[in-house]
Symmetry: C2
Subunit: 448 residues, 2 copies
């Protein structure tokens, strides 16, 4: 299981060469497939691959770039899809025996948008069982003895080692940010509702679709190209912001979000974040801390129970779909999910309404803070990916953005134990583009 | 096509007799089936029936009542399900050739709740094609030359003539209230989100599940029993209000909602509503009119374009699902829907956001008025069911409650041309129970 050091592979960086006919989407795909041949036998990022179809699609994109008529900035981009997201030409198995071999026969809204933009669907990436906790064997490309994180395990692993420049994932607790942190990729968890989830098995109220990507720019581009074509969830305004990648802009004030993760973070991870805070201060950014900011302190207080509360909320909202899966064949649902379902079935509508009220209170407190800062900064994980592939790691740093319905980015700019670690930025709902501006500036700062 | 005069059939009225062993759910079902044998060959309310399974379920309920262990107030109640709502043991065909014979293999959240409460699923009722405009042959039990309305055509027709005491429908524009009005049944369109729509092909932002029923009490009971078990949509508090049917309570102030329908209403229909207003005034209720109430006038103004705006909003939100259906086989989508889809594909996210903003403005204006009145009153349709079964009638009176996300009831207390006509009450979001209290009082008033 000796692998080369993973390197991310950017598609956006090659677009000028496509336009000038020095490179082609087909050649790009072949480079992805070379990395795939090296890593995939060990990593197991994909549950389904269709290389011939991808080559055909890449050839069609190559012809369009040759004719100077690309469909979009992502025309020809190889992408992966978390296997919760339906595809007309591939099975959608949700990481569960319940859906083994199942084909819905339709493309999800996001997939339809990706195809319309010319993207090349290389395959379906591994998800934990129904995006919950039971892992399905994917390994971390940086160290196969470690978890890639979850639930968007395969999407993060594939992007982390250059098999793909981008892949879609979903997050309801921490399923985009944490695996991206562990695998050394970027992740964008948009404002809840910003990307249409139609045709995907992630219909919970704080779930969001988002890209895991090789670069910050590609996170924006992929999300933007999808949202332009598919819109947001019904009733949501969809992803707001410009067509172009938002330019870097220096923040004035940044709030430090400790979250319940701070106490659990490894010393090396805390030191890495401390260095970020020092760099911010040196650059003249005011870093607000809960000890000196009443609004931030109130927010932290309201976030203390965000993980158990989110889990309970997700469980209640999952009673119907899990019940429907169990009804097909109880033996095909893991013992873990059967137990979660039993617990959820004891919850009452009043229990659920109390959770909604707590979430609204936290969102209200965040709105107060968000009006006072350019972004909140924290870690994306408590440290490097843990050893073992049964657990997908600690979600404590990831849940706040999910609970708040807020946009968040994980930037693979830190390390711990010589392995990747993400720094996380959390923005105000519907101000996703501003968050990218702050992130672009932070990336330049830390690159110095 | 000579049919007897339709009579609704209440299940709730028989519950005391079940408890006292003077009647049984199985005997009740047989009485429904007698009416079914008389009406169904002409009316065509069902697209799928499973009488043997219904008899088995009714026998099981009969045994539970005999043992004084009913699962709920609706244990043994025969119900129908609009054929957008998925069922594990019956096909779900959505009124479309695209889904001919299709079985999803799972029960929708509402169906799972109904079964858990002991309800007897008699069959799937006819819907127009994907709940839009193309009718699928159902006839009005009061006059088979006339439409039953739509899109919940079969549910309203079946309940209107005693084939069922209750059936589920859905409404995104006017698909519960109008068919109930035309067929002489009650309908309850709850606050948007109040009943979990999981597993139903009505995922649009102003769509709602609701019962069409033989009595006002049964509308509450059915909705309550479902919401207690399935909750509301993810992120919604679900149906609020007591377990018991809300008691009648005299309103103090009622607002007259003219809507875009007033100009289109038949003279007989307007006269019928005028009589209601006179009865209200005689009973000491203050009836507010837009000419003398600035808030009501502003609301009416903002509702003027609610129909075209709702249609455009629904079209934009339908781009993904319709596109997915078209991709399977374009020839199986009606020319009407193909044209709607083409128009919707030309809409931009900005167009959609403008519609959302208009809807929010109308909801804001309604909140101001709702704080000042017990309910709004209007007609449920412009008159009796029109002759012909191609068109499902004019939606003008129905769209306000959909656009406002507000609870609404249609009560079959009026008539025009000797045919049923509903009086409609619209309440404040999440105050569905208060609306039932006002409705119960109005029903008693008009019965005098």
């Amino acid at each position: 299981m000796s692998l080369p050091v993973p390197v991310r592979r950017s598609y956006a960086a090659c677009v000028p060469a496509f336009a000038e006919h020095r490179d082609t989407p087909r050649e790009f795909l072949e480079r992805c497939l070379e990395d795939l041949s090296v890593f995939e036998p060990t990593v197991g990022a994909f549950v389904h691959l269709d290389i011939p179809a991808a080559r055909d699609a890449a050839d069609a994109a190559t012809a369009r770039w040759r004719d100077a008529r690309p469909l979009s900035r992502i025309d020809g981009m190889p992408v992966g899809l978390k296997d919760l997201i339906e595809t007309a030409n591939m099975p959608t198995q949700c990481g569960s025996a319940v859906f083994e071999g199942a084909c819905s026969g339709r493309d999800a809204a996001s997939v339809m948008a990706l195809r319309a933009a010319g993207a090349v669907i290389l395959g379906k990436t591994v998800t934990t069982e129904f995006a919950a906790r039971v892992a399905r064997g994917t390994r971390n490309p940086w160290d196969p003895a470690r978890t890639p994180g979850g639930s968007s395990s395969g999407s993060a692993a594939a992007v982390g080692c250059g098999m793909l420049p981008a892949a879609l994932g979903t997050q309801v607790i921490g399923s985009l940010l944490r695996p991206a942190s562990y695998c050394g990729a970027y992740a964008f968890k948009p404002t809840v509702g910003a990307i249409n989830r139609g045709g995907s098995h992630d219909g919970l109220s704080q779930s969001a679709h988002g890209p895991i990507s090789a670069t910050l720019a590609e996170a924006w581009i992929v999300a933007r190209e999808i949202a332009d074509r598919a819109g947001g969830d019904p009733g949501s305004p969809g992803l707001l912001g410009p067509h172009a990648v938002p330019a870097a802009r220096a923040p004035v004030r940044i709030g430090l979000l400790e979250t319940a993760g701070w106490g659990a973070a490894e010393p090396a991870a805390r030191a890495a974040l401390d260095a970020v805070l020092e760099a911010l201060a040196t650059a003249g950014v005011t870093v607000l801390r809960r000890q000196y900011h009443a609004g931030l302190d109130r927010l932290e207080h309201l976030l203390e129970r965000a993980t158990p509360a989110s889990l309970a909320l997700v469980d209640y909202e999952s009673v119907w779909p899990l019940n429907a899966y169990r009804a097909r064949d109880p033996g095909k649902l893991s013992a873990f999910l059967r137990e979660r379902l039993s617990g959820a079935e004891r919850m009452t509508p009043a229990d659920y309404r109390a959770l909604l009220a707590a979430r609204e209170a936290a969102r209200g407190a965040h709105a107060v803070v968000a009006a006072d800062v350019d972004a909140l900064v924290t870690l994306s994980a408590t440290g490097a990916a843990p050893v073992g592939i049964e657990s997908t790691g600690d979600t404590a740093f990831n849940v706040p953005a999910s609970w708040l319905g807020a946009p968040a980015l994980s930037l693979p700019l830190l390390e711990a134990q010589g392995l990747p670690l993400g720094v996380q930025l959390v923005g105000a709902p519907h101000r996703d583009a501003d968050l990218f501006s702050t992130a672009a500036w932070l990336e330049a700062l830390l690159a110095v």
